[in-house]
Amino acid sequence: MATVADAVPRGYGGAAPWAAVMSWVTTVDHKKIGILYVITAGVFGVVGAAFSLVVRTELANRGAVLDADTYNQMFTMHASIMIFLFIIPAFVGFMNYVVPLQLGARDMAFPRVNALSYWMFLFGGVLILSSFAFGGSASAGWTIYAPLTGNTGANRDVVGAGMDLWLVGVIILGAASTAGGINFMVTIFKMRAPGMTMFRMPLLGWTTLVTAFLTVLATPVLAAALIMLFVDRNGGGGVFFDPASGGQALLWQNVFWFYSHPAVYIMILPAMGIISEIIPVFSRKPLFGYRSMVLALVAIGLLSFVVWSHHMFATGGVFLPFFMASTFLIAVPTGVKMFNWMATMYRGSIQLTTAMLFSVGFLLLFLIGGLTGMFSAAVPVDFALHDTYFVVGHLHYVLATGSAFGIFAASYYWFPKMFGRFMNEGLGKVHFWLMFVGTNMIYWPQLMLGLDGMPRRINDYAGNGGWELMNLIASVGAFIAISGVMIFLYNVVHSMFWGERAGDDPWEANTLEWATSSPPPPHNFDEVPTVRSERPLFDQRRDALAALAAGAGAGASEPQPDAQREG
């Protein structure tokens, strides 16, 4: 197989620089698009992280650094970027790169639509960020609650072009996501390798599928909400969301969260898929309870559509018992996944590579995100904690130490496949420990601040409440975590060109992406191994060993002509 890979042009470079650039701009190859997605999301993520440092600097100094308007823009854009332009597209990038390979497919089902999705994502993101050149960005929080954002009625804090650019940008991002979701569905349903039944599909494939369903079902609702708000702001006079004009303020929250709660799972399920790939490989064991993992995943996906109002417990306009029950219930499948991951490590042979460290970090800290969620699920407790820093701490334990840890784990794990070289493990471990310590220093004090009653989204607070120390710890933590990210960025760039060479299957992994060269040829596979379980490469290695033991030589690994299948 190695000789075949060498014969294939590497594909990520070209003779002339111009040709190299054009090969990326015009590509419809899912691998190149995946890398474009991840790198673009990474660049946006750095901007979002920089904004978080501005926010933390302001809070460490009790509002003495920025004016309120700039602060409001910073925290709004921090969240908007991290959610819409970093976490979601970074996962889309990894799924784009990995899932067709894991399925043994040649590409996504609709390669051109795939390219269109990427370019719409880039355009939407640039549009949102361009608001800084047009008098300032949106500044009403990423949840852009109406009628504050409505530009109508008695609202005295009218946000200008930045808000409209945000709305249009997110509509474009939503369209890109929806197209991408359909693309993933068709790819997964129609392009699996021979022998790969649905229940032999790697877990990342399943999380991608459930995520795709959530995206396709929920994003159009968000698009509708955004269009309604755009109309309200631009000539519509507030008929949707402004009570002064016959609209309903709470309607916005209902339609917004009907998308945005499933979106929380759009942001966490791929991370769960990623660590479901990594933990078995570095424990040298099969994933424990594969079927219950899939069932839990589907249960989470279904339940995620009936919990949206738990963001609105304090509005006075929610049927509380129902949403409290559904919110508590969604903890059950999440718990099942947690225990299955732990059982996968049980009696395993655990190698703590950086990818595995981030996966263990995910388990340790996502647990805190889940448990703090229980406090908010108990409605009366949420009356105390809603809209305080407790919620900020909770959501960051889910999204930063959950989703973002998943992104980092995926980076270290699939980097050798993408570029044929390892990332530096030593730097990776430094990165992990800085992130682990830094993030806990940020989010744990935030939980405590919330318990003590500090509301979110304020740039200034009283100096007499003991809040200064907690905020200072959080701000120092932010700088520690970001220094870890800096090391990561250096590691990425350095390893891309000078990293230690990795073979086709450096981790002794189980899934099909490791059955081809690193990086894979444009057509992915010269031959697709036949799939007989959810771990085709494990089967292959075991058969080869058995064949060796039987003295039959390397017969089992002989190329099988015509095994390759294309969708």
Partner: protein
């Protein structure tokens, strides 16, 4: 094995280093965490219930946290890779999987049941015969206004529809009313415009409340704003904090309304909050148990100066509260009627400015000036503006581009110069009673 096995080259050394680092951090963390792992002591009955529920959830969460975190760390250390052997390939275990589906299910069902009981308790209104103190809270970017009430010896005589265009109100006794008095029927505020015997012309939907359907013989209360502030200096540049005074030991019904966007009425020591939504009036029931001074602030992001939308609660013993409330209740016919300048009787100053005081009075309320400056311009969060020493031009300059204040500018498009002139004219007619001195406040 190299001949010199330096301790810092061994895996064990690295592992124990990492572990001791983690342990140190964890202890540090636990030390700080223990200091503030709980919400503040509750000072209301509802808050005490919520705090108890918090403790239950905390107990469950802490147990799961310690068990699971310890288990993960144990697994990672115990089963680290020692040799190249393939571990046993365990694909699953039905009993274990059923167990860890069932146990969390039981836990969340129990937590749901407990939360449901507390929720019913916290949200329930008091019995009909229990005395309740009603305080109407108006949220507005970026401050709070607190309205108290006193019963009028009058009821509605005919039903009033929910159509805000219906502005004719039949009452049992027109003599109880005065022009420009704000009254409340159920939770709707109405402002009296004209009185013709027992027929009143009213403005509906006042103070961010919504027009409702009212039955005949509904009791009518008159509303008066109490603009107490306290010099708290909680935030840089915001010296005074508005104060709402409440009784201890009697249920308070806060009727929350908003004039513009969504706000949230949050008092950490009551462990409770509820949004003030534009377009609806919602009630929060609180029975305060401890006299004292409690900070509160808006918890729902509401724009530019959200962080400055602070307030405080002063809880007084019942007798003290009742005395306080008596001292704040304006005499019927004095403070309430006083601002109404009789038509055609324009004072010289107003005439000179060329404004129409009667129209100015309506505009004063319509533009919400009263929220910050008090119902008769006596000053509250904002300074006293009745009988200001400034000229009309100076007032307009300050109004368009306020200097040295958090007040937002009002543009020519929002409030034209002639409207400002009318308001100015009305403000100049006001004769403040002696006891109303600017910027007065209670002390904590």
């Amino acid at each position: 094995m190299p001949p010199l096995a330096l301790p810092w080259a061994s895996r064990w050394f690295h592992l124990s280093l990492a572990l001791s680092l983690a342990a140190t951090l964890f202890l540090l963390w636990a030390g700080v965490a223990a200091a503030q792992a709980f919400p503040p002591e509750a000072t209301s009955e509802q808050g005490e219930d919520i705090r108890e529920l918090y403790l239950v959830v905390f107990g469950v969460a802490a147990a799961i946290f310690i068990l699971v975190e310890a288990a993960i760390l144990y697994l990672v250390i115990r089963y680290r890779r020692r040799n190249d052997e393939l571990p046993p390939q365990i694909h699953g275990n039905r009993v274990a999987e059923i167990l860890w589906t069932a146990v969390p299910t039981v836990i969340v069902v129990v937590l749901f049941a407990l939360s449901y009981v507390v929720l019913e308790d916290v949200e329930s209104a008091p019995d009909a015969d229990e005395p309740v103190e009603v305080i109407d809270v108006l949220g507005q970017q970026w401050s709070w206004a607190f309205n108290y009430s006193a019963p009028l010896n009058a009821t509605t005589a005919a039903p009033l529809s929910r159509d805000p265009a219906e502005t004719t109100l039949q009452v049992s006794d027109g003599g109880a009313f005065r022009p420009f008095m704000t009254v409340r029927i159920d939770v709707e505020h109405l402002r009296v415009q004209e009185i013709n015997g027992d027929t009143l012309t009213v403005e509906r939907r006042v103070d961010g409340t919504v027009a409702q359907e009212h039955k005949a013989r509904a009791p009518i209360d008159r509303i008066f704003q109490v603009s107490d502030t306290v010099e708290e200096r909680r935030l840089e540049g915001a010296d005074r904090t508005p104060v709402v005074t409440v009784p201890v030991g009697r249920t308070v019904r806060f009727n929350l309304a908003s004039q513009d966007v969504i706000h949230s009425f949050y008092i950490p020591q009551f462990l409770y909050k509820l949004d003030a939504m534009p377009g609806r009036v919602q009630s929060l029931w609180v029975k305060v148990t401890e006299p004292g001074f409690y900070q509160g602030q808006c918890a729902e992001f509401c724009g530019l100066n959200h962080a400055r939308m602070i307030f405080a609660v002063e809880a007084l013993a019942l007798a003290e509260y009742e005395e306080w409330l008596r001292s704040k209740t304006p005499e019927l016919g004095a403070a309430a009627a006083q601002p109404a300048a009789a038509p055609g009787e324009e004072p010289a100053a107003a005439a000179a400015a060329g404004g129409d005081p009667a129209r100015g009075q309506q505009l004063f309320f319509a533009n919400g000036c009263n929220v910050c400056h008090g119902d008769i311009g006596q000053g509250a969060i904002g300074p006293t503006i009745a009988q200001t020493g400034l000229s009309l031009d100076e007032v307009i300059t300050q109004y368009r581009d306020p200097v040295g204040t958090t007040m937002l500018p009002f543009s020519e498009g929002a409030v034209p110069d002639e409207d400002v002139a009318d308001i100015y004219a009305w403000l100049q007619t006001l004769d403040l009673p002696e006891e109303i001195v600017p910027g007065r406040g209670t002390s904590p």
